[in-house]
Symmetry: C2
Subunit: 329 residues, 2 copies
């Protein structure tokens, strides 16, 4: 069987994560990277991968089985995913939870028009965390859900700090509160405020001579991003940031506690947790598994937008169904 | 929409777990229990549920949408599931891992002959643990799998102890070795022997005057069941057993550690864990979610044997797809 020919649109951290995942999956082959930058400035890690301008996508319809989108949810994907779903089977990692229904509808219409499969919102949250929530809710209808994130780097919060006057660079870690997690795991069903669930740790490089107290105040009081959390700010040098905070780790836990039975009800705790050294590489690996599923669904004549909720788990695997049953069930 | 009409074959611990789960799922209705015992001796917990002899199953084809099998894997299900799949859509919890391919083939042939859907090997292992293994393998192709069970009651091992001469009653707990779990979670990829992964704790009620040393020796040296483990035997009274060991808790963890990236590879840890106060009630809850999926698949014209690997996660849920995307993705 020939490998699934993968294209990547957007060659940032996530695009490179997808590229690295293709190397680890022998049934996939990365054939092209598409970029809005000047293609001559982009050098893939993998020999022999062509780089084309994003504007040339339509010319490569025949050469790509699934296009994986590496763009961001704020402005890239709302435009790109519907447009690309008219040309290719696609996979994206759209993660603005509140806008998923509208994104799904736009992508679904485009994909159906042209007979493609479009998997949206793949990754780990949304993605693997979402299926963990769904399975847990399906088997424990009476219960409560909790999602904790971290300890990990939030790119959005790091960017927000970088926009504070006097800040040169920053890295923000989201950290779950251990006591809150323990109360949930113990089945205590706590009602938790935003502040009780997570703390935020900020490592900040300031301009020489900047007003550190003013920077700290601007960060901890920033609405939406930090005001609702216990936030700590630590000023460090650029050298320390580069040395100690170069990685992009993340992770977290989805926990559902629920009960079954008659009067003397029994309690159950389901927990799915991830501890990731590299957020973009793990996300890229999920996207490639979803690309495999998209290709299989397209081969069976399915069309339209899909999410991890619609994908039979076996479709994500390179192993055939009989072997999966024999070895993994 | 009318409720999914559920029948149960076999009214032991698991059958009662299925009954209790039907009460917690408003879109299902338990309509009948079938038993090999004298039906007059069986009283369901739920008012209005009819009890029929197992031999009368064929007479109730029109009244049941999905039949859930509560029997055991050793002798019941290899006969019952294929036979019942000729009459109904069915769900079973066949859990003899080595015989799953043969069971799947037998059930698949029967279900296809008559146009039914038959979900086999549902529960938590096989079942929820299996999908956890599959997702983790699909997204981290380079890695190692570990499954730990417990702390929980093993019915099979408890039964084995009860067959030792001089034993009146017994309860056996399977217990994971904490140091082994920690090494796995730390990404150390340890090679673990059977003995290094789990210990076995046995609480035994002996006949008056029995040779306790002989009983202990018979247990700890029992091949297949205990010889390969560090096993402890504690003699207690029947009253203590009834007071302290009446529950049927279980659980465990599926862990996959893997790596992604280029030379300096990044490590990731995926863990799915269950802590269950009642093994049969949780298993019954999974079976009812799978019954819902079986009914939906049958409604779409699918036929044949299926496992959790083949079921789109959304099919397990009573919530419609759009609502799932809006609230759980």
């Amino acid at each position: 069987m020939s490998a699934i020919r993968i294209g990547i649109l957007g060659y940032g951290n996530l695009g490179r994560g997808v590229e690295l995942a293709c190397r680890d999956n022998a049934d996939t082959e990365l054939v092209a990277v598409f970029t809005r930058r000047d293609p001559s400035t982009v050098t893939p890690l993998t020999d022999g991968v062509a780089v084309y301008p994003a504007d040339d996508l339509a010319a490569h319809q025949g050469g790509i089985d699934v296009l994986v989108l590496g763009g961001g949810s704020a402005t890239d994907l709302p435009e790109q995913t519907p447009a690309c779903a008219r040309l290719f089977n696609v996979v994206d990692s759209f993660d603005t939870h509140a806008n998923i229904p509208a994104h799904f509808a736009a992508v679904d219409a485009a994909a159906r028009e042209t007979g493609h499969v479009a998997v949206i919102s793949a990754g780990w949250d949304p993605g693997m965390f979402s299926v963990a929530r769904l399975y847990a809710n399906a088997v424990l209808p009476n219960g409560a859900d909790y999602t904790f994130w971290g300890r990990g780097v939030s790119q959005g919060h790091s960017d927000a700090i970088r926009r504070v006057p006097g800040v040169v660079d920053a890295r923000q870690y989201t950290v779950p509160v251990p006591a809150a997690m323990e109360a949930v795991r113990a089945g205590e069903n706590p009602q938790l405020t935003t502040r009780q669930k997570h703390t935020r740790e900020c490592f900040v490089v300031a301009e020489e001579g900047a007003d550190l107290a003013a920077i700290e105040k601007a960060i901890v009081e920033m609405p939406n991003y930090f005001a609702d959390y216990d936030t700590t700010v630590t000023f460090i040098s650029q050298a320390e940031l580069d040395r100690d905070h170069a990685g992009i780790p993340h992770g977290g836990s989805v926990i559902r506690t629920g009960s079954t039975g008659a009067e003397g009800r029994n309690t159950h705790v389901i927990e799915y947790s991830l501890k990731l050294d590299s957020n973009p590489e793990f996300t890229g690996s999920v996207l490639v598994a979803c690309a495999r599923a998209a290709w299989r669904m397209a081969g069976e004549g399915m069309v339209g937008a899909k999410t991890v909720f619609d994908i039979p788990p076996a479709y994500l695997s390179a192993t055939d169904d009989a072997e999966l049953r024999a070895t993994m069930l």
